[in-house]
Structures are given as structure tokens and as C-alpha cells.
Assembly symmetry: D2
Homo-oligomer: 310 residues x 4
């Protein structure tokens, strides 16, 4: 046979699992989009269509829903660890499971939503509004021995309306860009970070707190960095996370430069200087795309370059 | 000529106008997507391609940016009124202008964003995070005599995890739905409301406050209504807005019923009752779509049925 | 009661109905996205949540699937007429039904798809590739007496790489656009047209042939019109349809001007003239948006301005 | 310094380059979406914001447009090779360039488009309709010594309406799926394949013909395989490409199982058997997702698992 089978995986993608927990009159939501990918002794299903080693994708879907009920969803990571372990440990033909989760956050109406502060505490315990800001991400991979847990987020759109410059770059035959000493820096962050927890022999991090703190340090660095390049800002974000969170060894960013070009209003006799406040054109495409991994010194990088795929 | 020209309009759509205002060290953002549609003496441009009466769409774009600088953007409505008036009053061939605006909201990092509360007040004055919740809408139409101002919002996703029932409906040959006495009610609201301000002879409303209050009443009614049908909830939302805001005469909702079906876990020996907290499958398509107009008694409806187009 | 209920409608949207017909070994597909909207005696469901007059949206979904089996799908229009008639005629509380349908077209692999011409006729009778070009549209409304049938299409993207000019327009204070004597004209057409068939007393058109011919005339006019404005091209398309298809009385277009701007390559010492073939930047936003209705002389316009909603 | 910089890259993404070539009256289009990613001596731009080694993303954009004019676009691959070589060979600080390209295909109106066959040959030479079927993909990476060229496609949606079964799988506690002996097999293919051409010392393949042939073999295998699992179909597609195209060493597929569930019509007294033609519900989410690499025996796999990112 001149051709052979390489890496392969299968499973049910995008299971929209929503869990409501009732704590007296107060309800809580976990709203997840769960994708399962399994690998193992699956040559036969490819070579001749024998499904004897194949756990149907439909069964992986059922398991996602049943586990949400049986074991609850304390965090996306804890729930994913539970699922990954189940598939590998219960099925002899499955040797590796990868669970990817998107999590959408909701808040009680009348909580931090300032428009709804008027509403008395009693009424809002079961009423929610979707936050709409970033989507939280988790990926758990298990091979029967070790876990790899990645956490992350996407679509967190941030802007500094000053304290960003761009100059001193290479000028070649095709360069027309003007240097800028007061530009807008805006991006829609996608990022994954890797935890150094890999098995039950270690103490498991608090996944919820770890996420909150990682996001906080990313935002903190974005705010505090006087930026000479978006690369510099990414490095500051990443190193701040690594330096402050001992449970995280590696982080990768994919950051489109959401260009806000100062509109040329001189044909109409109007100044449009950044220092006075200005009018910008928010461009769609093309856009600069900056990607970087930041690592704890001495650890091996493991987050794939193509994880954010742009 | 056996064919004639009917209603027609043209203009530049989706101008992404971003205005930064600097108030000392504190910056403010207005982030708009502005679409212009003009009508008038434009038969010739259709019949024979003569552009003598045609103000180029490119010029309408330039005007959107220049007006943001010259006159500022106090609110989407005020800015749209200014633009609409300009096109009709300055161009003899233009008899009607319609300005449609989407507004995206941002908040200072470290403001109500709870993850960022740690950050000192000094640093955040020029750092923003996009809220991501609803998109605010405005449409201003001017015919040289009267204005029509619609305001609205889209993509405000809300959920009541209890206090919703559905029963007592018609059963025919094709009915299989079971009655439900404790269901999730979730929707992604799109709504437009019409102001009764039509000319400078009336006192102009505070557009920002009017928007905040209309949204507040919509949320308030959503929270408080024990719902026997999504239609009932919409009517409560609409009548609450009309009854509390004298500047608003008409409101129209388009509300997809974002179905959360309780997953059947009985094959796995698991109960999944709503009263205990339950696991739901968040379905994509199909979905119930409920649309309704609510009016102040005695006024004529003017918001088109097809404004939200689903 | 100071507020009253205005126009309202409800039903199941986006039912993804796929019908396979087997004609010996040859299979045929109808692939539809069907949305139902019903109106009638529905005040009570809004005012107090009584569902006694409410046919559940779930039942309307079941009916869409069952009718596809019981009566088949000869065309989107015929199927929609059947559904609309059923809801109004079988339910005393329903007085008006509107069925909207999107149709996706498939072709047999090895048919007109040139890459697959190699494949023998026997193998392809049940193998399909989705065409991916335009989406066909239909809307059928029935009030118990008359039908209104609209047909249309969206996302048909066409381009003339020459034979388009734009000059002779109004120049005002905000005009910076240069006149262009050889520009690209590209658009992504959305269009609805209205048939004059309204009841069984008239002979029903062949909906499939009518669609093919209307699309043919639109393309024909696009090809043949030496364009001095996109408005002129739209009028030519519309009048060609009205003049050649006696069953069609009215047509409305919504046509974004998909700008292809000649890139300025002069900083690099390169000419980039259209006459030599040129390099263009395909812009996203903003874009000119041109909308127009063309009518048979003497008929009343009925297609809503907001039907294409941009 | 406890943190270090790992893999990083930057460049302008999604440059929408459209090239028109005029061959007498006949025009040809190349319509590309080009993304540039550069790596090299870029530590300083991350550590302290010095841009001395940074070629601006704006310059990479200019280069994409200028090269389209100066050297033309014979194929996406040839054009990408040219760009990748330029960035690495002309900039001492750039050591690796990766060019990713999406290509959208157009056809002359009146060509194979059957609705337009009526149109005379003279008129259509500059009139185009966008095909809308699959998007063609290419990725070229160059490190100063070797090229790696991947070609591929996405969004090619195909269906077999019979000749697909699924049975004989693992049944565990969470399995509810029924075996199916006549199901629909539909998928929206994403695939990348790797060429073994790596430098000018080898004879360069004809990229256009290679693409056509690879696509043909994929479709051919889809048509001819009586499928017992989607995995089997993927393997047949891949091995057919490898066996027939000596220039291709490796291919990876990502294939969502676009479920078409036979609707249960038994509550309405209707049979709905596949053998008679049936009515199906085309589901959105969740969906089975099947991914696999097929390799020429003896070669090393290089296409990343996360290249198609689902």
C-alpha cells in the first residue's frame, strides 16, 4: 500500500450544553460550546469502514450532556478533564481525547449592568443578560497518562486612544507609511495559555480564579504599557501573566491591529490632530496581524502556531 | 415607455466613523456605523445615466466624517438629524434623506468591568474595552419639513431561567409539542421605537437619556413578567415603554425564541427536571420568531413591518 | 388602556427542509429554508398570555416537513402557496399567512461542473455539489382571498471589468472624488419581483421557468448595458424583466457597489491604467448602496422599501 | 529575565488583491485574499519596542499590490513563491516568510453558467459572475533555503443521497444512536495538501493543473466510494490524490458531517423511508467532525493538525 494513514481524530463538535443550577431562588448558568476529538486504534475505520473500534460521535454528544447533569460544571476546565478522562479510560480503542470548550458569560440583570441598577434584588435571581464581551476558551487533552490544559479567550476588543507610537522602522522601495507619534492602538485579542498542571499528583489550580487573574494581568499590561509597537504590548501582557501566575508556563497571542486611520479632513479646511481629539476611519481589511508566544524561561513551547489560525 | 421608476434611494452605507474627544486626560469615544440613503429628482440617472442631479456617494461619506469633526457627535440621533438636514437643505435635487446608525459602546477599563477594578484611576482615562452587549440603533428621516426619528437596539440577549410557561394552545393534526409549566424563556431582542419629535418647533428630547430609560423599561418588564407566552412579554415591554416615556409613541419588537430544550437524559437513568436545575440543549434553527408593534392609543403606526427583516 | 397592539405575527423561522426524490437511480434535491409568519385573532395572547387562539410555532414546523412529504416540492412558490393556504383555511383564528423561503441549489457532480466531466454518467445520479452561487428567494402571502407571490434572489455577485464610467455629478464643498472613464462595476445583487398571479381563477405561472427567465434577463441587461451609473444598470435590468415577462409587474433591487479601487502604484514607479489591465483593491466598507423599484406602468407598487434591509 | 520570547510572526493579513488582465477584448481575473507573516531577528521589537528590524506591515501590503502589477499572478502559488522569496532575500532581519492566499473564482457570464447560455460570445468577454463554490487555498513558506508549498480548498459542499451506511460501532452506556443502512452523507470539505517541490533545483509543477487534478480526484473518490464511515471516504479521497499525483506527498482533511436527519413523520401517519425518497432536517449543531492525514508511505507528516482549526 503506497499510502498510509497519519494523524486522525473525530468526535462531535459544537455541543451547546447549558446548565442551570438552582441555589434556592438564585439561579446560575454555565453556557458552553463543547467539541470532542478522539484518537486511537482507528486504522480499520479508515481503511475498510469497520466501525468496531468507533465510539459514535452521537455517543460523545450524549456523554457531554449526561456528565453536565451527573457531575455538574464547576469550571470548563474541570468538566473537560472529566470528559477527557472518561473517553480514554473507558474505551480500550481510544488513546487520546481532546476537549475544546467555548464559554459564554451571563450576568444577573441588575448586577453590574448599570442600566438595570434600578431593579430590586428579589426579582433578578433568575433573569440574565448575556455579557457579550470576550468568549472564554479551554482545551483539555489526555492520553491516559498526562493532561495538557490550555485556557484562553477570544474577541476581547480593547483600545488605547493615546500612548502609542510607531516609527524607526525599515524603509524600503515599497514603503509609503508615515511615522506616527500619537496613534490609536486597538486590537481584538485571541490568546491561549498553558497550565503546568498535568496529573492528579499535582494540586489542581482553581481554574476560575486563574482565568480571572490571567485576564486581569493582560488588561493591566495593556493599560500600563506606553507602546512603541503592538509586539511590545503583547510581550508585556505575556510576561506579566507568566511572572504573576506560577501555574502558567506559556502563553500565545494573536492580535489583529484594528486600524483606526485618522481621516484626512484638510480638503474641507479642517484640522484633525490626535492631540485635539480626532475623527478616525475604522478599517476592516487588510490589517496587521501580530502573533507571539511568551514562555517561562526553560520550559518547552507546546501551544501550536496555528491554534488561532489567521 | 411601458415601465416606470418607483421608489429609489442611494448613498454610502456603513461608514465607520469613530470620534475621540479629549477632556483633559480623560478621553471619550463615539463609535458609529453610518449609512446614508438619499432620494429626489433622480429619474435621469436611472433612465439615461446622467449624473447631473447626483451627489456622489463618496461625497456623502466625506460629509459624515467632516460633520463628526465640525459639529461633534453629541448623540447618534443629534448627529443624524444634522446630516439629514444638510443633504436636503443644501442640495436642490435631494428631497429626502434617511440616516441609519449603529452605535457600539465602549467602557473605560476599570470602570464597571469587574475584572479590572484593581487598576488605579489615573491609568484608565484613555483605555477602553468594547462592551459587546447590545448594538444601539438610530434612523433619522427628513423630507425638508418633518423629521422622523427612530431609536432602537439589536442583539440584546436575555434569559429568564424560570417563570415561563406555555400551554393551552391549539392542537391540530400536526401538533406534537408537549405543554410546559416551567420553561426557559430566552431571546435576542431587536427593537425600534418612534419618537414624536418631528421639528424644531418642539422641544428636542435628550436622546441619550431617552435611550437609557427605554432600555431600562424593556429589561424591567422582561424581569417582572411571569410569562405565559413570549407575545405577552413583548406586549408588557412595549406598553411599559409607551406608558413611561411620553416622547415615544410606537415600538416594534422582533424576538426570536432562542429555544433551550431540556435534554432527555432518561436513557441514562438521569432525571432532568427544571425544578432541580437542568441541562438544556441550546438550539440554533429553527426558532419561533415573534414580532409585534405596540402603540400609544390614537397614533398611526409608521414603523415598517420589514424593518427587522426576519 | 393607553396602549394598543398593532401589527403582529409569529411562526417558526428557518426550517431547514430537504427533500430527496428518487426517480429510479436518479435522485433530485430540493433544499429549502422555510420561515412561517402568521397573523389573526391574537390579541389575547399578547394582552394576557391566553394561547387558546395560538397554533404553536412547533406545529408550523411539523407542517412544513409533513407537507414536503405529502404533497412534494414542485417549486418553492407552489409549496409556499400550499402551506399559506393551509394555515389560513384550516385555522379560524389565523387570517393571514406569510411563507418566506430561501432555496439553495445543487447540481449533479459531473454535470455542468467542468472539473468533474471525467466521471461516467452512471455514478453521479446520487452525488451532488452545492452550487454556491445565488440563493433563490420566494415569499407567499395569503389572507384567505388573495395571494401575493414574490420571487427573487440574493448574493449573485457580478462584475463588468470595463464599459462603466462615472462623471458629471454634483460637486460640493465635501466632494473629493475624481471622475472615472473606465471603472470596474461590481455588485452583489439582491432583488425581489412580484407576480400578478393572485388566485386560482388565473392560470398559475411556471414558477421554475419564470425564475430562470427573470434571472437570464437580469444578467443579460447587466452584460449589455454600457453603464454611466449603477442606477442606470438597475433600471435596465428591471425594465428588461418587466418588458419580457408578462407575469411580473414589479421588481426591486438592492445593489451594493462593491468598490474595486485602482491601487496607486506611482510611488513605486509603476503605471496602473485600466486600459492595460490593472491591479485593484477590493474594499469592504463603506460602499455605495443603490436601491430602486421598477414597475409596469399603471400598477401600484407593493414591495416594501425595507425588504432588503440595508 | 524569567520570561522569554518564543515563536512570533507578523505581517499584513487579508490584502484583497484583484488583478485584471486584458487579452484584447477578453479580460481575465485573479481575485485573491493575501496574508503575509514574517519572522526573524525581531526580539528587540518585542522586548523594548525598537522597530529598527521591523519592515512595516503596511510595506508588506504595498508589496503584494506592486508585485501583482510588476510580475503578474500566474497562479496563487507562483505569486506567493515570488513574495516569500522577496521578503527573505531582500531583508537581512527577515528569515522566514509565510504567504497564505485564498482565491475566489469567477467565470465569464454565458460560459458554463447554464442560465446565461443565450448570450452571444462577443458580449461576455468582460462580464463575470462569481462562482461561489469552493475557495481555493495556498500557503507558501520560505526560510532562505527551502520552500514548503501547501495547496487546498475549503467550503466545497458535497452530498451522496444514498450509498452510505453506519453500523457496527461501539455501544456503551451513553449510546442511543440507531444503526442506519441508507443514510445521506454530506460534508463541507476543508483540505490542505503538500507538494514535494521545495526549491528551484526541482522542476516546478503546473500549479493550476495540479489543483484541478487534485480536486477532480477528491470528487471522483467521493462519488465512487460506497461509504461505511466518513473516515473511509476521506481515506479514499486522500489515497487517490497521493496515488495519482506524484507531486503531492501529504493531504489533510477536515470534514464536518453535515447531518441530514430523516424527520419522524409517523405521528402524522406518513412513512418517510429513504428508499422512497425522504424528507430530511438539515441540522446546524452539533455535528460530527472527522479529520485525517493521508501520506505517501515513507514521508514525514508536516501539515499541522490545527491548520483547519475546528
Amino acid at each position: 500500500m503506497p499510502t498510509i494513514l497519519g494523524q486522525n481524530q473525530y468526535g462531535k463538535a459544537e455541543n451547546r450544553v447549558v446548565k442551570i443550577t438552582r441555589d434556592g431562588d438564585t439561579h446560575h448558568i454555565k453556557d458552553l460550546n463543547v467539541s470532542v476529538a478522539l484518537s486511537g486504534d482507528l486504522d480499520d475505520v479508515h481503511y475498510n469502514g469497520s466501525n468496531a473500534n468507533c465510539l459514535p460521535t452521537d455517543t460523545t454528544k450524549n456523554t457531554c450532556f449526561a456528565f453536565a447533569k451527573e457531575y455538574g460544571i464547576e469550571s470548563a476546565e474541570q468538566y473537560g478533564i472529566h470528559l477527557a478522562r472518561h473517553f480514554v479510560d473507558s474505551q480500550p480503542s481510544i488513546h487520546r481525547a481532546r476537549i475544546r470548550i467555548e464559554e459564554y458569560s451571563w450576568e444577573h440583570i441588575g448586577g453590574s449592568d448599570s442600566n438595570a441598577k434600578f431593579i430590586g434584588a428579589d426579582e433578578v435571581k433568575h433573569s440574565f443578560v448575556r455579557k457579550g464581551q470576550e468568549t472564554r476558551l479551554a482545551q483539555i487533552t489526555y492520553d491516559g497518562e498526562k493532561f495538557e490544559v490550555l485556557s484562553g479567550l477570544k474577541d476581547l476588543t480593547v483600545m488605547n486612544s493615546t500612548n502609542s507610537e510607531f516609527w524607526g522602522y525599515i524603509k524600503d522601495k515599497y514603503t509609503t507609511l508615515q511615522e506616527d507619534y500619537d496613534r490609536i492602538l486597538a486590537t481584538s485579542l485571541s490568546t491561549w495559555w498553558r497550565h503546568n498542571w498535568t496529573s492528579d499528583e499535582q494540586r489542581m489550580p482553581s481554574w476560575e480564579r486563574s482565568y480571572e487573574q490571567a485576564k486581569k494581568h493582560i488588561l493591566h499590561a495593556f493599560v500600563e504599557t506606553y507602546s512603541l509597537s503592538l509586539q511590545q504590548t503583547l510581550y508585556q501582557m505575556g510576561s506579566r501573566v507568566i511572572n504573576n501566575r506560577s501555574e502558567i508556563d506559556e502563553i500565545r497571542f494573536s492580535a489583529p491591529n484594528k486600524h483606526h486611520f485618522r481621516q484626512d479632513l484638510s480638503p474641507f479646511g479642517l484640522d484633525n490632530e490626535a492631540k485635539d481629539g480626532a475623527v478616525y476611519y475604522a478599517a476592516d481589511r487588510p490589517y496587521g496581524l501580530i502573533e507571539a508566544t511568551i514562555l517561562r524561561d526553560g520550559v518547552e513551547p507546546k501551544i501550536p502556531v496555528d491554534m488561532t489560525n489567521l
